[in-house]
């Protein structure tokens, strides 16, 4: 994944998390709350996942990743 893509994913992760943060701090009506959760939880989860994946590509995190995978289970 290119550097541009990583920056784009970081921006999208922040942008899609903003409605959730707003919903926490503002007292929104129920319909708006449900709409925010249903639309933005999956999308922000996806973009946060992409950012985490890009971070896990450096050597140190790669080691951690291997530890999670091969714990002898």
């Amino acid at each position: 994944m290119g550097k541009e893509n990583e920056i784009k994913n970081k921006i999208l992760a922040i942008v899609t998390s903003i409605p959730l943060l707003l919903g926490i701090f503002l007292n929104l009506p129920l319909a708006v709350t449900i709409a925010i959760l249903v639309v933005f939880v999956p999308i922000s989860t996806y973009y946060v996942g992409l950012v985490l994946m890009a971070r896990a590509k450096n050597k140190e995190d790669e080691e951690k990743r291997k530890k999670i995978t091969f714990t002898g289970y």
């Binding site: 449900i34 939880v41 994946m53 999670i68």
Partner: protein
């Protein structure tokens, strides 16, 4: 019924996270019990959750043959559907019909996930998703029969009916059995789980790895939790009310499901349809006899 006008987002979000963690542990327990029955040590109970988190730091691969927007969007839609079901069901005690609708849309999502990647295995999985939709007769029979009995499809109303008239499980045991088969068909390694059969590698999930698989597993965990919650609420709603009682009941049902999954081979697709229709017809007979 009364819906609070200003419902706190953080409260709902915490409920969703709780459902995700507990649902993940239940699926871990399911695997553990299955393994013990089959004479294997099995993975730790937290393994299903670890597995989900692990996929979040694994590289995402999107096949060249896939339809990229659909490949990602349909998985997000599956998550969205079950988040809606959780809000409508356990959190608001709203309409059972919306949860049934979520279940139906889940089938559409399975079909879409299968078609999006372009792999022949996932396409077979998606074809089976359509075929298994014809098996979901209990999906229509259960809400209809519960409505004839209780005159409401609001979950709060169904709970109130059971507080006054006793558990629906004792009044409509065969309808409960039909709903149980519905829950069973959504359980991993189920005899009715033809959409992710190992004969077609992993069915519609064959090509999904990395972040997108993590998101998909999150949706499946929420789906398992929501369906177990619905089953307990609709048939034991008057007896089981406290959160701890719900947790114990969900654990008990998961163990029963694990026994069935461990001891039953996956049935052929046409047999899956036939068997589920038989349970739906039994449910109708139950209501006619009463």
């Amino acid at each position: 019924m009364y819906y609070p006008v200003n419902f706190n987002l953080i409260y709902i979000l915490l409920e969703i996270i709780t459902a995700f963690i507990f649902g993940g542990l239940l699926l871990g327990l399911h695997r553990k019990v299955m393994a013990r029955i089959q004479g294997r040590p099995g993975p730790p109970i937290v393994q299903h959750l670890l597995h989900t988190f692990k996929f979040y730091i694994k590289e995402l691969s999107i096949p060249n043959t896939s339809s990229m927007p659909l490949y990602v969007a349909i998985v997000l839609a599956m998550d969205a559907v079950w988040i809606l079901a959780l809000i409508v069901g356990p959190i608001l005690g709203g309409s059972f019909l919306i949860i049934i609708m979520c279940y139906a849309v889940h089938k559409v999502a399975e079909h879409g996930i299968g078609l999006a990647s372009g792999s022949p295995y996932t396409k077979l999985g998606s074809t089976r998703a359509v075929l298994s939709a014809t098996a979901e007769m209990p999906l229509i029979a259960v809400p209809a029969l519960v409505f004839f009995k209780t005159d409401t499809l609001l979950l709060d109303g169904i709970i109130n009916y059971q507080i006054v008239n006793g558990s629906l499980f004792t009044q409509l045991p065969l309808v409960a059995l039909a709903m149980f088969v519905l829950v069973l068909s959504k359980t991993p390694y189920s005899p009715f789980g033809i959409v992710w059969g190992k004969d077609i590698v992993s069915g519609y999930k064959t090509e999904h790895f990395g972040v997108i698989r993590g998101v998909m597993m999150m949706g499946e965990i929420l789906a398992f939790f929501a369906l177990l919650w619905c089953f307990i609420t609709i048939f034991f709603g008057g007896i089981i009310t406290a959160p701890l009682a719900y947790m114990v009941a969900m654990t008990g049902i998961t163990v029963i499901l694990a026994f069935i999954c461990a001891l039953t081979p996956m049935v052929a697709p046409y047999h899956a349809v036939m068997i589920q229709w038989i349970f739906a017809i039994l449910a109708v007979v139950n209501v006619l006899l009463i």
